[in-house]
C-alpha cells in the first residue's frame, strides 16, 4: 500500500505539441493507482481528457514544465502559486534543455539566442525552484537530475491492421521546428533516390508549408526554414497538425513512420513523447537519432531501426522485408514495456519528488 501523492503540473497548454500526451498518461495512471495528478488551471474543452485543478493547496508538489517559452504563465497565477507552494515543493522539468550553457550547433540550432537570454532562463529557474530535472540520461549541469519523464503506454497501442491495407507508405509526424536542415540534407536526398519505390508520403505537422508569419519577429527564421516547393516536387503531401490524442492513430495509417529530432535535443540526449508514441502506433518506426542513443533508450534492437548512414537502402529494406522489422519492433516494445512504462516513470517521478535520485536506467 503506497501513500497517495498529489502532483500539480503547471504547463503551457498546447493540444498538438509539447508534453500534453505524457500528462494525459500520468493523470490516467495516477487515478488508477490512487495518486492525484492534475494540470493547473480551469478545465479546457480542447483537452477534455485532462484533469485540471486550481486547488493548489491540495497538492504535495508542483512541477513546472518549461518548454521553449519562459513567460507563458500569467503573473496573477504565478503570484498565487508561489505564495501557496513553498520553494521546497516546487520542481522544474526543463524539457528543452534551457538550463545549460549556450549551445549553438553548426550555426543553426541553439537553446539560447544569447548569453543574456540564457541568464534570464537560468536566473528564473533558480529563483523558482531548488530542483531541476531534464528528460535526458546525461544532464550536463551538476545540479540537474535526470528524469526521463516521457514514457511508453503499452495499453495504448493501436490495433494492428494489415501492412498491405495501409494507404500511406511513409509518414513523418512532427512540426518543422529546427528540423529542416536534417530533413533537407539527409532525408529528402534519400527519398529522392528511391522515390519510385514508394507510394504516398506525408509530413504531418505545422510549418512544412510555410514558416509562421511571426517567425522573423521573434528572431527565429532559421528554426522554421522550409522549402515547400521541394516537398511538392518529391510528391510529399503536407497535412495539418493533429491533436495529441490522434497522434498514434494518425501514425498508424502509414507503413513506416520516421522520427526526426532537432539537433539540440539529440546533442543533449533529450527524449520526448514522440520517442514512445511512435512505438504505440501500428507502424514500423524508423528513427533518425544516434545509434548509441537509440540503444540506450530502446535496447539493443533499437539500433536496427535507426536511419543513420545509408537511409535510402534502409527504407527499401524495410519495405521489402517488413516481417523482419516487425520482429525488431516487437523486441523494442518489450524493452519499452519493461523499462519505460508510465508505471515506472510515475514511480521515478514520485521518488524524485520525495527527495531520492530517480532510479532511471537505460535498460
Amino acid at each position: 500500500m503506497h501513500t497517495p501523492v498529489n502532483i500539480l503540473f503547471v504547463m503551457e497548454r498546447r493540444v498538438n505539441a509539447g508534453s500534453i500526451q505524457a500528462l494525459a498518461n500520468y493523470i490516467q495512471l495516477g487515478k488508477k493507482i490512487g495518486h492525484t495528478l492534475a494540470v493547473y488551471g480551469n478545465p479546457d474543452p480542447q483537452l477534455s481528457e485532462i484533469y485540471f485543478s486550481n486547488e493548489v493547496h491540495l497538492f504535495d508538489y508542483v512541477v513546472f514544465i518549461f518548454e521553449s517559452k519562459l513567460h507563458w504563465v500569467s503573473g496573477l497565477q504565478l503570484a498565487h502559486l508561489l505564495t501557496i507552494v513553498p520553494r521546497s515543493r516546487r520542481v522544474i522539468l526543463d524539457a528543452d534543455g534551457m538550463y545549460n550553457p549556450v549551445i549553438a550547433l553548426d550555426g543553426y540550432d541553439r537553446n539560447h539566442a544569447s548569453e543574456r537570454d540564457r541568464q534570464r532562463w537560468v536566473s528564473s529557474y533558480e529563483a523558482l525552484a531548488d530542483r531541476i530535472v531534464q528528460p535526458t540520461l546525461w544532464p550536463c549541469q551538476s545540479r540537474v537530475q535526470s528524469l526521463l519523464f516521457y514514457g511508453y503506454d503499452s495499453r495504448g497501442r493501436a490495433v494492428q491492421t494489415s501492412w498491405h491495407a495501409k494507404r500511406v507508405d511513409i509518414m513523418h509526424v512532427g512540426h518543422n521546428w529546427w528540423r529542416w536542415r536534417e530533413v533537407s540534407e539527409r532525408l529528402l536526398p534519400a527519398i529522392e533516390r528511391i522515390r519510385g519505390a514508394f507510394g504516398d508520403i506525408c509530413f504531418v505537422g505545422l510549418w512544412w508549408d510555410a514558416p509562421p508569419v511571426w517567425a522573423a519577429a521573434i528572431g527565429q527564421d532559421a528554426a522554421f526554414s522550409v522549402n515547400s516547393q521541394r516537398l511538392r516536387e518529391l510528391g510529399i503531401r503536407v497535412l495539418p497538425a493533429v491533436p495529441y490524442r490522434d497522434v498514434i492513430s494518425t501514425m498508424s495509417k502509414a507503413r513506416i513512420n520516421i522520427m526526426t529530432q532537432r539537433p539540440l535535443f539529440r546533442r543533449l540526449g533529450l527524449v520526448t513523447s514522440k520517442y514512445f508514441e511512435i512505438f504505440s502506433a501500428d507502424t514500423l518506426p524508423l528513427i533518425m537519432i544516434e545509434p548509441e542513443h537509440a540503444e540506450r533508450i530502446y535496447g539493443p534492437s533499437g539500433r536496427d531501426l535507426v536511419l543513420h548512414d545509408d537511409i535510402a537502402s534502409k527504407l527499401v529494406d524495410v519495405l521489402e522485408r517488413p516481417k523482419k522489422y516487425h520482429e525488431v519492433v516487437q523486441a523494442v516494445r518489450r524493452h519499452l514495456t519493461t523499462h519505460h512504462s508510465y508505471e515506472r516513470r510515475l514511480h521515478e517521478l514520485i521518488e524524485m519528488l520525495d527527495g531520492h535520485q530517480p532510479a532511471v536506467k537505460a535498460g
Binding site: N54, L82, T83, I84, Y125, A127
Partner: protein
Amino acid sequence: MKLLLISKLARSSRAINTITQYSRVAGELGHKIAVFGEKQLDFPELQFSLDVPAFDIAIFIVYMPSDFPDLPYLASLLDGMPKSRRVIIDCSGRYNETIRVEHDFNHLEKMDGHQGWEWIEAFQSVADRILQPTLTPRRDDVGSFLFHGYDPEGVVHPVASAAEATQHWSRSKKYGVAYVGNNWQRWTQVQRFLGAIGPIHQKLGPIALVGSDWKRRPDWAVQMGIKGADVDPEFLQQLDVETGDAIPFTELPGFLSNVRFSPIFQRPLFNELGLVTNRMFETFIANTIPLVMVPESLAESIYGSAVRPLLPTNDIGSWLRDMIRNPELYWEAILTVRQHLTVHHSYRQRLTELIAVLGR
C-alpha cells in the same frame, strides 16, 4: 519606512504619475521608495531596486495581470518578502464580485484569461492587506486608501485670485476642449458629451481626444468582441475632433494648460465603485477649467462642496456658454477646490496616510 513598489510602468498610463509623486515626497518625509526591478532608463525620475530584504513593505499596485512581475523577479520577491509585509493596492476594483456596468467590467476572462475568483484567490494569497482607492470599498476585508493625490507645487500658473486666474485662462489656447485619456470604457460618455457641445463647437474652439485608440476601434477589440474601445470616427469627423496619440505623464499639465475646458471622465466601473484616479487630481493643477463628469456624490466627497459649479447641468451647452461669459465664477470654484485638495489630498498627506495604514 522603506517601501518597495511593484508595478508595470508606462509613461502615459496607469499610476506612473502617482508613483513618481510618492518618490518625490518620500525623501522630504524621511522615507525611502523604490520600484521593484532593474533600472529602467525610460523613468529617470524613479529609483529601482531588486534588494527585497532592504525594504520593510512590498506594495503591489495592480491594474492588470502583468502588474505582477515576470520571472525571475516575482519568485525572488515573493520568497524574499513575507505575506504579512505585502500590500496590494487594487486600482481597478478587481478584488470584488464580478461587476458589469454598461460595457465595463472588473473581470472578463476573454480579455485577460482570468475569471473573477482567480483575482480574489490570488489577492488573498499574495497579501494580508488589500487597499482600494475608494472611500467606499464593498468588501469588509478591503481598506480604503485613495492612493492618488494632488501636487500643490505642480500648479502650472499659481495665482492669487480668481480674477488673475481668469486673466491667464482667457489668453489664446490651442484647444477649446480636450480630453486626455485612452479610449477604454469611455466612449459612451465622450459621445454624449460631444453630442451636447456639438451645436456650440465652433464657439468653443478646436476639440481633441488624446490617447490610444481614438482614431478607430482597435482590431483586437473587434476580433474579441469587446465593446469597451468603441469609437465613431465619422461622428468625430463631423465635429472636426482632432485625435492624437497618448502623451507622457510629464507633458500632461502643460498640454491641458493649452486647453480651455478639460472634461474628467472615468470608466463606468470606477464611477460605480467610487474609485478615484490620478486624473481626478492632476487636471486641477493645469490652467484649464475642469469639467467634472463624475457622479456628484463622488465629486463632492473628493473635491468638497465648492466643486458644484464644475459639475455638469442637464444642458451642457448652456453650462459651457455660461463659463465663457463668466469664467471668474468658475475659477473661484477651482481655486477653492485646489485649496481643499491641498489640505486633504496632497501627496504628502497621502504618503503619511499610507505609512499610518502600514504601521497598523
